[in-house]
């Protein structure tokens, strides 16, 4: 027997005491391993300067008294809090998120952030009444959108949550997430939510495909599963916590969840037994249900992607119905409807300023442009507050105030200035104030063709200096969507293109360089915008040598989809937004340098900013879109005139509407001609210019000026005419 063969001379020493030592060693090591893991989790996701999702923001920041709708996604899609707010003139917020999230954690967050006078409505999904464990949905979301659930608990609850979180989620999250530089930050995402769905509700107009796990199940199977139904201990504990919350002056009522489908609640015997048990449990705790079970059942044609989700038409019906129920029960918090969007967007701006400024910035380079459309710009500039994310062409300010900081170089020269270039959404220029450390350092003008020079403090070598940029006279920022220009919901004000830090004297050199550059093209300086030819003073705006307005419209902006994270996502393949422009008229000459050109042209990728006489194409490929009149002559042509950088002619390849290709020579001598026969005028015409034999350089590379932009063709005019 192996038992007897492995006897050791020390066998007799093995007694209870040594077994105890073994057991204690196991326990201590086990606890140490788990504690170390808890510490790792806490250090990774345990700290936040702002709520982790818009729902949390609503709950934490909207002033009361409020009607708070809390449940899983049935209410997120089914109850329009804005409609309730408008109808009852109250402040209603919908913080419903996901039925997979934990009921006890939800009640805990209510206990933390609901105040006396608030009314909480709980149209909980059925699983909330029967589930006794944390779901994967909830645990998986802890490192991201539900980080607040983690950061808001302490002690044993925090340990319990940390030890529910798979290591892959903790470590994989940072690894798999897109780099921060390319995505919208959480605050920016919440800002979009505050603009698009300020009260927390959203629904789709048309049904989406059925969600995973829905197909092949009846409605009842989806709602209740196959296991036996009984009220869980977890829900009973949550009821206990709700009772304590009620004592603090918060009113709590229950409601039945929205269910959508013709076959829902067909197993009446099973359902009614469970529903009665739930209702009895709730009533026993001193709470009541609003409405009846059947009042929340809707037919299949109103279903979105699951039997819990209504499309918007259904949500409106349900919400109006719910409003009547609230009125009939006399449920309404005191106070009036608040401008939730305005309150939260301001609060988000403040939250951005809560963390300390980044100290790990590289010293700002001197005598070099820093293009804000490149991720490298983030090595030099901390866009602390009031900005949208990184995108092509530059970075937008969200409103009329924003904060950024830079680290001054150790050897910053006397009289150094920071020059800002950019353009406003609507074009033009505005009075601009810049503050640093509470002191106004500039009061000048910034905008189309005018840059702003900010004096750099000489005493702050190798220090991070923060600047507040403010446009006191500009109207409140609007979104392109509000203006009817595109589907972009973001409020946009100033589009910052690039910055340069240099000594004041060098600014003139650049201006001279520009003159030389102009000479190459046989142009005079007067053809460029020089609104103020004087040497700029610190309190005045300076001429913008190379105004690079990236689209006066919304060509360079993101198209956020609902409140999802939104990186730059052009709405068409070519990168052009859906045009809302008027059609070109026959024989109309469109001047690319005129501000009015944006009424007709959608300037896509590959262009530099508009200048007085025209607009430069970038080196490789440039896209342009415009609408033609519905009927054009059979021999209609498009003439495009301009200059080639360096004065030579170059071969240009023109792709028309992604198909027809035309190869021709572009020269300063005569315009190119694009035949438009057989073109479909019912859709916008899209031209893509490219240069097969590209060998363009920048004026800087040629030693003509300090302008680093690679320039190819300077397009001046376009004309629709007949051959």
């Amino acid at each position: 027997m192996p038992v007897h063969k492995t006897e050791s001379p020390f066998q007799s020493g093995w007694g209870i005491s040594l077994l105890s030592s073994f057991g204690v060693a196991i326990l201590i090591t086990l606890v140490l391993v788990l504690y170390a893991y808890f510490e790792v989790v806490s250090s990774k996701i345990g700290h936040l300067h702002h709520p982790s999702s818009y729902k949390w923001l609503l709950l934490e920041e909207v002033d009361g008294p409020r009607l708070i709708i809390e449940s899983g996604s049935n209410s997120h899609h089914g109850l329009d809090a804005e409609l309730i707010s408008n109808a009852l003139d109250i402040t209603a917020i919908n913080i419903s998120d996901n039925a997979g999230y934990d009921i006890e954690q939800k009640v805990a967050r209510l206990a933390m952030h609901a105040n006396a006078g608030d009314i909480v409505v709980l149209p909980l999904e059925w699983s909330y009444y029967s589930r006794d464990h944390l779901t994967d949905d909830f645990v998986d979301s802890l490192p991201e959108e539900n980080q607040s659930y983690f950061t808001s608990v302490a002690g044993i609850d925090r340990i319990r949550l940390a030890l529910s979180l798979p290591p892959a989620n903790v470590f994989g999250f940072k690894r798999s997430a897109p780099p921060q530089r390319e995505a919208l930050s959480k605050i920016q995402q919440m800002y979009i939510a505050a603009l698009m769905q300020p009260f927390g509700h959203s629904a789709y107009d048309a049904p989406r495909p059925l969600a995973a796990g829905v197909e092949g199940q009846t409605c009842d199977e989806y709602l209740f599963g196959a296991s036996s139904l009984k009220v869980s201990k977890k829900f009973r504990r949550a009821l206990g916590a709700l009772k304590r919350l009620r004592k603090s002056g918060v009113e709590i009522v229950f409601a039945w969840p929205v269910v959508v489908g013709d076959d829902c609640y067909s197993d009446r015997a099973r359902l009614m037994q469970f529903a009665e048990a739930v209702e009895a449990t709730v009533n026993d705790a001193g709470f009541k249900f609003l409405g009846s079970l059947q009042q929340s059942v809707y037919p299949s044609h109103l279903r979105d992607d699951t039997p819990y989700h209504l499309i918007s038409a259904g949500a409106e019906i349900h919400t109006r119905h719910f409003i009547r129920i609230l009125e009939s029960h006399g449920i309404r918090p005191a106070g009036k409807k608040r401008d939730v969007s305005k309150q939260l967007t301001m609060r988000l701006y403040e939250m951005e300023l809560l963390p300390p400024p980044k100290e790990d910035l590289n010293p700002f380079p001197t005598n070099e442009y820093v293009d804000t459309s490149t991720s490298q710009s983030l090595d030099f500039i901390d866009f602390r507050a009031g900005w949208w994310g990184l995108e092509s062409f530059g970075r937008w300010m969200r409103s009329n105030e924003a904060v950024f900081s830079i680290r001054l170089p150790a050897d910053i020269g006397k009289g150094s200035v920071l020059s800002l270039e950019g353009a406003f959404l609507e074009g033009g220029a505005y009075r601009t104030q810049v503050f640093s450390e509470g002191v106004k350092v500039v009061d000048g003008t910034l905008g189309d063709s005018q840059n702003l020079l900010i004096p750099m403090p000489q005493t702050k070598q190798d220090s991070v200096v923060e600047f507040v940029l403010r446009f006191p006279d500009r109207p409140e920022a609007q979104s392109p969507f509000a203006q009817g220009a595109s589907a972009d919901y973001r409020t946009l004000s100033f589009h910052l293109h690039r910055l340069v830090l240099d000594e004041q004297e060098n600014v003139y050199v650049r201006t001279e360089g520009a003159s030389q550059e102009l000479a190459v093209h046989g142009l005079s300086t007067s053809e460029f915008v020089v609104e103020d030819a004087n040497i700029p003073t610190l309190s005045k705006s300076s001429p913008l040598k190379n105004s690079s307005t990236c689209g006066q419209s919304t060509l360079c902006v993101a198209s956020p989809r609902n409140n999802e994270e939104s990186a730059v996502s052009p709405s068409t393949v070519s990168g052009l937004s859906v045009p809302t422009k008027r059609a070109i008229k026959q024989d109309e000459v469109i001047s690319f340098g005129a501000a009015s050109s944006v009424e007709v042209l959608d300037i896509g990728r590959g262009w530099w900013g508009r200048e007085t006489a025209g607009r430069w194409m970038k080196c490789c490929e440039s896209a342009l879109r415009f609408a033609l009149p519905p009927s054009i002559p059979e021999n209609a042509i498009l003439q495009i005139s301009g200059d080639v950088f360096g004065g030579k002619e170059t071969e240009i390849l023109i792709t028309i509407n992604g198909r027809t290709k035309l190869k021709t020579q572009f020269s300063s001598v005569k315009p190119i001609v694009i035949p438009l026969s057989n073109i479909d005028t019912s859709i916008p015409t899209e031209l893509v210019f490219s240069f097969p034999e590209y060998s363009f350089q920048s004026p800087k590379e040629l030693g003509l000026s300090l302008d680093p932009r690679v320039l190819s063709v300077f397009v001046k005019n376009m004309r629709l005419t007949s051959a």
Binding site: M1, P2, V3, T6, S8, F10, Q11, S12, G13, W14, G15, I16, L18, L19, S21, F22, G23, V24, A25, I26, L27, I28, T29, L30, L32, V33, L34, Y37, D136, V139, D140, L163, S164, L165, P166, P167, A168
Partner: protein, 487 residues
């Protein structure tokens, strides 16, 4: 209820240990065994209560038959009873495990359109059937004393829950005496500690290593079964992932089973001894699933004639044993091919040894380190190729994999996640270089330093860390069941 399920770890096991302590302290040996039988039947019925009837029926049938055989062992009557018993046991196994396969092939070949019986394979049927067949054989052979044949001990021999579901396949001669032996307290304490050590190590192997490799192996084999040709790296990554997955899964399970046995004062036989360190395929089978190899040797290979009837017959016996061993794992042609491959590998190995012996190079082959390294690589390669057939869901899927592994074809590529790659490297390191749990257990039992608190503390820390990491790994959203539960 898997050994890794929270309900087993935090409810069933503590309650059973408590009950075992109480019955050990307050009751007799019979009480203790009766308690173990009861909890073992509860454990089995947790999976599917209906099959408890099958298990209990099989138990009663075999116990009664063995009782009759033991009245006159080695007689004609007992031989008839033995044949009847083996036939009945194999019929039961055949009906549940192979009838569907038989019907499927019959329909395929003769197009007779027989209905698929669609019987669900009762859990552990292959294991408890084999154990009972060996008991009947040894009863007939006179290797069991009539006085040792008691109902209670027979029942716990078959149903003891740590080994009931997926082995090790125990032999009555190593179990029955333990049921009778009273273990002194110091020895019991030490077994308990060793049990915890092995159980923690098994948890770690299963949850941290095997389950981390499973998703990638599943993905690659699913693609191959789907008719895809894979690129070279993808095919090899999938084959290697499965090679280590099955080792750490099954050896982890066996370690847990042995550890659990020790918690109750029962030492189960070892089932693994670093099989991937083998330098030939015979050695592999002495290190892999050792209790199955032992059973096949004692109750199939030797009765077939073993090596007693000439070289050709020995090769044929080897081949037959391995093919039937393959079929034991499941009713699928892939298992037959897997067994046949191993049969061929064994024959090649024996042929090589025979020829090397004839030319006087056998000694060199066994001692020269360079040649041993080569032999190890060839053995591992052969094992990996055979695992492809063992794992693939379809035969064409297995051939797709083998084709992809060797033909450098252009095929689909599946990225190996960095965590999988790291675990794969760690698994290889552990398999090839580090001591196995058998050796760790031996170190635990034969202390090389003076007795002190340090000894239990070191092993306790090892166990605690293994359990801690296993707990964290178990938080993974998806866990795969033990692979040998299918057999």
């Amino acid at each position: 209820m898997l050994f890794t399920d929270p309900i087993f770890l935090f409810k069933f096991l503590p309650l059973v240990l408590l009950g075992f302590c109480v019955t050990s302290l307050a009751g007799t040996r019979a009480h203790r065994l009766a308690f173990l039988v009861a909890v073992s039947l509860v454990f089995y019925s947790w999976f599917k209560a209906e099959y408890l009837i099958l298990l209990v029926g099989s138990l009663i049938f075999n116990f009664v038959l063995a009782t009759k055989i033991l009245k006159a062992p080695q007689s004609k009557k007992s031989k008839l009873l033995l044949v009847f018993g083996i036939a009945a046991n194999l019929s039961l196994l055949g009906v549940y495990k192979y009838l569907g396969f038989f019907v499927l092939n019959l329909n395929e070949i003769f197009e007779v359109g027989l209905p698929d019986p669609a019987l669900l394979l009762p859990l552990a049927i292959s294991f408890f059937t084999f154990q009972q067949i060996s008991y009947l054989c040894d009863s007939h052979a006179g290797k069991i004393e009539r006085k040792d044949h008691t109902c209670l001990e027979y029942t716990i021999f078959v149903t003891f829950f740590p080994q009931l579901i997926a082995g090790p396949i125990v032999h009555h001669s190593e179990m029955m005496p333990q049921f009778k032996t009273a273990i002194p307290m110091p020895q019991r304490s030490k077994m308990f500690a060793e049990g915890l050590l092995l159980f923690s190590a098994g948890l770690f192997k299963k949850l941290v290593i095997a389950d981390a490799l499973a998703p990638h192996a599943d993905l690659v084999f699913a693609a191959a079964d789907d008719g895809q040709i894979l690129d070279f790296w993808t095919a090899w990554s999938g084959a290697l992932a499965y090679t280590f997955q099955i080792y750490f899964d099954f050896s982890g399970y066996s370690d847990m089973a042995i550890g659990l046995g020790l918690l109750f004062g029962i030492r189960l036989p070892w089932n693994f001894n670093s099989p991937y360190k083998s330098t030939n395929i015979s050695e592999f089978w002495r290190r892999w699933h050792m209790t199955l190899s032992r059973w096949l040797r004692d109750y199939l290979y030797i009765p077939l004639g073993g090596n007693r009837k000439g070289t050709a017959r020995q090769y044929a016996n080897n081949f037959t044993t391995m093919v039937l061993g393959g079929l034991w794992h499941g009713a699928h042609w892939n298992f037959v091919i897997w067994g046949a491959l191993h049969g061929v590998f064994l024959i090649i190995n024996q042929l090589f040894r025979f020829l090397a012996g004839r030319v006087g190079l056998l000694d060199f082959a066994e001692r020269a380190s360079g040649f041993r390294l080569f032999a190890w690589a060839v053995t591992l390669l052969a094992t990996i190729i055979a695992w492809v057939f063992f794992r693939a869901g379809t035969t064409h899927g297995a051939f797709n994999m083998v084709y992809s592994m060797f033909m450098m074809a252009e095929g689909i590529s599946i990225d190996v996640p960095s965590t999988t790659l790291a675990v794969l490297c760690g698994a290889a390191l552990v398999s090839f270089l580090l001591p196995n749990t058998k050796q760790i257990s031996a170190a635990f039992n034969t202390m090389k330093f003076k007795i002190s608190l340090l000894h239990p503390v070191v092993f306790g820390c090892f166990s605690g860390a293994a359990a801690g990491f296993a707990y964290l790994a178990a938080l993974r959203v998806t866990q795969s069941p033990f692979l040998y539960f299918n057999f």
